[in-house]
């Protein structure tokens, strides 16, 4: 890929992230983005058809690493099922988030966080869904699997949001402990 393309793409992403941290997505104009990124109008539209496409691309950029690494983790350790697993997938995810290479947490606690949360949740949902195949519960009441999957993934995402909004006072390990405490009893 052309080095110029990489640069402008990165510049647009950076500008967009900066703006997102400042104000709501819907209030951000293409004009502001290209001013901040210091690229021409034509250039922007050469890269992204619309502002929505840019957002989608940013989401994919942000979560591709973190989710794929989580996927590897589930392949080797399983979700929470295998007690011998040295680290749960969730703890792994939380550690990744804390490192926060790409300011994900900032975006997750910004005004437009809903968009990212939805994307995050959908990714997680898929992840957990795959893990749940052929897994039977100990509990007596019959609960639909997709209900449980939805419960777990959304609980995790909302916990992350709660964490980010509270200035990340807890360590990933501590959070993981909390999460286990509310999730493991129902598995």
């Amino acid at each position: 890929m052309d080095r110029r393309q990489q640069k402008t793409r990165a510049a647009i992403f950076a500008a967009f992230s900066t703006l997102l941290a400042e104000k709501n997505y819907s209030k951000i104009t293409v004009q502001e983005i290209i001013d901040t990124a210091n690229v021409g109008r034509t250039t922007f539209y050469a890269h992204f058809e619309t502002k929505d496409e840019l957002l989608k691309a940013l989401c994919e950029n942000l979560f591709s690493h973190i989710i794929s690494s989580a996927l590897d983790c589930t392949h080797t350790h399983g979700l929470y099922s295998e007690k011998s697993a040295p680290q749960s997938v969730f703890c792994h995810l939380l550690q990744h988030l804390q490192e926060d290479e790409h300011n994900i947490l900032e975006l997750l606690s910004c005004e437009s966080s809903e968009i990212f949360l939805r994307y995050f949740k959908d990714s997680l949902n898929e992840l957990i869904q795959n893990q749940f195949v052929n897994q039977n519960r100990k509990n007596n009441i019959e609960i639909p699997q997709d209900f449980l999957v939805n419960h777990i993934s959304s609980s995790f995402v909302e916990m992350v949001l709660w964490w980010a909004k509270g200035q990340k006072k807890q360590s990933p390990e501590q959070l993981d402990q909390y999460f286990r405490a509310v999730i493991e009893p129902i598995l």
Copy 2:
């Protein structure tokens, strides 16, 4: 209040709801709203400063009844604490939602649902927070109260969303049973 004001207000709300069911909030223009509601441009801006204000007003309209009725419920029965309570607050809420006087569920499963979900969640959070005063847990691990409150309210809201997206196949009573199964073990 002037009858004319009531009518136009209702017309704008109705038009807005219709449009929200069709397309994303951000794509809806004031022009479309006033065309659908069949009111003049000036009239719209006399009632609502911006589109965002309209959304906020709609949210307040939608949730005020349902939340206040839930509040009464907690005053008499408590959250889930009192075993003698004939009906949990959550079951009560679900029944209200199923009746769906104001198309709340349709909005909760539409493209812009995040906005309503956030509003719904904040209301619930407050509700549950108040219930949690002086309530101690049986579990051994120490979990912060606001973590638990957040977990419960967001779990409930996400369950409702899951329910609405799945065409409401379950009865409120059944849903309540599922919810108890995943929440009561941690109380």
